[in-house]
């Protein structure tokens, strides 16, 4: 029982990070149908911005989080303008290759500037440990922070997408780009906003990971980026609540598998689930079957 509760805490904390990155993935896919493989690396840049702000400028957790989100959203817009916009009408494979190139470019440019060594985050959040059931279940205040920040950002995102004019434009463009343009929506601006929001979420995830796990390195984006991709597909790529659900689901699955002695198969299983879902429900667990347009 205690172990189960402890594992639940572990799973939710891990899952919320996957969910945050998956949200950005899904938004970009939803609007321009591009699997943005550079997304995990924007998350890495976010972690480094957070690191620089807390280490060299001595900023606290919240200001670092917000500035890092801003920097990442600008980076997201730039990447879209420079790399993705010119090939928007090219084949899907060209877009995919460009995305992978951008990913590698970010990794190795960053490595040049920050050196390949692992850096350690300063302790910006005091580790305060709460114990339950005679110390058998341990909850670090950091876990609460991570989950709380994730949920607040998700609610914010839901609000923007469903209650604001920008959100309406995003939904319109993702449904039909040409029709949206005919209705007077500035498609370029809308795509930029989407990249900005998605990248800001990745930036937030980067700072959270830095605070939670304490270490960052220039190649840290690859693994979680891939996992977030799996999470997005699991939930139904392009569906925002699906990405959140997929992230938590994946975090829990990995934790449960590890808890029952399958630590060696953890990654094999999460990708196995991806294959299974794609075979059985290609649109993801929360995705709707879209009829072919005629």
């Amino acid at each position: 029982m205690e172990q189960l509760l402890q594992q639940l805490i572990n799973g939710i904390s891990l899952g919320s990070i996957y969910a945050l990155i998956a949200l950005g993935y899904t938004m970009v896919y939803g609007i321009i149908g591009l699997i943005n493989f550079a997304h995990g690396d924007i998350y890495m840049v976010g972690a480094y911005v957070g690191f620089a702000l807390t280490t060299f400028l001595g900023l606290g957790f919240l200001p670092a989080l917000i500035i890092s989100m801003l920097v990442c959203s600008i980076l997201g817009i730039l990447i879209e303008k420079i790399a993705y916009k010119p090939i928007r009408n090219s084949t899907r494979i060209a877009a995919l290759i460009t995305a992978i190139s951008v990913s590698l470019f970010l990794q190795y440019t960053m490595m040049y500037f920050v050196k390949p060594d692992t850096r350690t985050f300063p302790t910006v959040l005091k580790s305060k440990i709460l114990t339950f059931f005679d110390g058998k279940v341990i909850l670090d205040v950091k876990n609460i922070y991570i989950v709380a920040v994730t949920i607040i950002l998700m609610i914010g995102l839901q609000y923007i997408v469903h209650r604001t004019k920008i959100g309406k434009a995003i939904r319109a463009v993702s449904l039909d780009k040409d029709a949206a343009e005919l209705m007077g929506i500035d498609v370029n601006k809308t795509i930029s906003y989407t990249f900005a929001m998605g990248s800001a979420l990745a930036g937030a995830a980067g700072v959270l990971v830095g605070v939670y796990y304490n270490t960052i390195n220039p190649l840290m984006g690859a693994g979680p980026g891939l996992k977030a991709f799996v999470a997005a597909v699991l939930g139904g790529i392009g569906v925002i609540p699906g990405a959140a659900f997929g992230g938590f689901f994946l975090g829990m699955i990995e934790t449960v598998v590890t808890a029952y002695g399958g630590s060696i198969f953890k990654d094999a299983l999460s990708f196995g689930i991806l294959i299974l879902v794609l075979l059985v429900r290609p649109n993801g667990l929360l995705g709707k079957t879209v009829k072919e347009k005629v």
Partner: protein
């Protein structure tokens, strides 16, 4: 003035050598006025501190050797290339050093995996290769139990480290129930795990659980929670500092406060940094060297290291330094910069005195050497004791 005489002497020597052998296949390196030695290390990537520190040690040794007249009257020229902590890159680097730079001796790599990746290159081109830190058993011995003719190491083997740590856990710490958490992607960790498990169980201990993680993982809370529920007395975590630092931190955060044991993969100043302040206590590992050792060689090495790099030397610095002198010793006894002769000289090394202990190369191309046990006290590695091989 002295310099000039040396120069003239070395010139004469080189010329006489040249006159003596013009038809030999390996004469390529003899024509140059330096002895080229390739350095294949992890200067960037996931285990960068090992490679950087080893290289720093080698460079210090070679600088001293060259200042004292070099070897066989020639200067040693180090050609240092980064293998990015990757297997394929390590093989590429070795090929490049052997075929393009015509080195007579390869030094490196730091980890067992990267060393094994480079060893086919050394074997095919018949160039001797020495690693000062590749502790896997099969670095010098192939899967058929045959000794790899051109591959040597100057550090003890994994099985030996695993055996020593199992005995340390049973006899010195008095624990009977252990759990193992190993890096499933590294040969090094697998070698240590197997040896630890065999020794520990055969001498009356029980291994309650054996779990794994993968290099570059950052979240170990789930596996640690499951290990905690099994109530082990001691955790054996063979792996490298980057992950182990995080594991120790997360274990302590989850209230898993039992002693943690490991091997020389913990040896890095980054270990303390990653684990965080006040976390590294009750952690023991086997190592090659401790700067707190007060023998004359160690004190002298420490001083010259401090003068050059203005910091304390760690085990990898010391291993690298020894490797530099070990190579010089072998080339000197070989009598000329010939790959075959150097290989034979390395194989017949007896009681080479270095700062990490005295080295005698056995028939399996491994050294016979003692183990130093280090205890972490508030993140500071402290010398606990030396364990001698039986």
């Amino acid at each position: 003035m002295k310099k000039n005489i040396l120069l003239v002497l070395s010139l004469v020597f080189t010329l006489s050598l040249l006159a003596g052998c013009t038809t030999k296949g390996t004469s390529n390196s003899l024509e140059s006025d330096t002895i080229k030695v390739g350095v294949n290390y992890e200067l960037s990537g996931s285990v960068a501190t090992y490679g950087q520190n080893l290289a720093a040690g080698v460079e210090l040794a070679v600088e001293e050797i060259n200042k004292n007249g070099g070897v066989l009257g020639k200067q040693i020229e180090l050609i240092k290339v980064d293998n990015k902590s990757e297997d394929t890159e390590s093989a590429n680097v070795a090929t490049r050093l052997v075929t393009r730079n015509n080195v007579v001796l390869l030094l490196g790599a730091a980890t067992s995996g990267n060393t094994k990746a480079a060893s086919p290159v050394a074997m095919q081109n018949k160039v001797p290769m020495i690693s000062a830190s590749a502790t896997a058993d099969d670095v010098t011995i192939d899967s058929n139990g045959k000794v790899r003719e051109y591959i040597f190491k100057t550090c003890f083997s994994d099985s030996f480290q695993g055996v020593m740590m199992a005995e340390f856990a049973l006899k010195d710490l008095g624990f009977k129930n252990a759990a193992i958490l190993g890096d499933s992607t590294s040969d090094y960790a697998k070698g240590l795990s197997t040896a630890f498990k065999e020794t520990f169980t055969s001498q009356g201990g029980t291994v309650l659980a054996e779990e794994a993680y993968q290099a570059k993982d950052t979240d170990f809370r789930a596996v640690l929670t499951s290990l905690k529920s099994k109530n082990p007395d001691v955790l054996f975590i063979p792996g490298y500092y980057e992950e182990v630092g995080l594991i120790v931190r997360q274990a302590r955060e989850l209230g898993l406060n039992v002693p943690i044991l490991g091997g020389d993969g913990y040896e890095s100043p980054k270990f303390t940094e990653i684990a965080g302040e006040g976390v590294l206590n009750n952690v023991y590992y086997s190592s090659h060297y401790s700067s707190m050792d007060d023998s004359a060689e160690v004190v002298k090495f420490n001083e010259s290291f401090k003068t050059k790099y203005s910091k304390e030397a760690d085990a990898f610095n010391a291993l690298g330094y020894d490797l530099g002198y070990f190579a010089k010793d072998a080339i000197e006894r070989a009598g000329e910069a010939d790959t075959e002769k150097i290989k034979d000289a390395i194989a017949s090394t007896k009681d080479f005195k270095g700062v990490t202990g005295s080295v005698t190369i056995d028939e399996n191309h491994n050294p016979v050497k003692s183990v130093t046990i280090i205890e972490m006290k508030d993140g500071v590695p402290t010398f606990l004791k030396k364990l001698d091989p039986k």
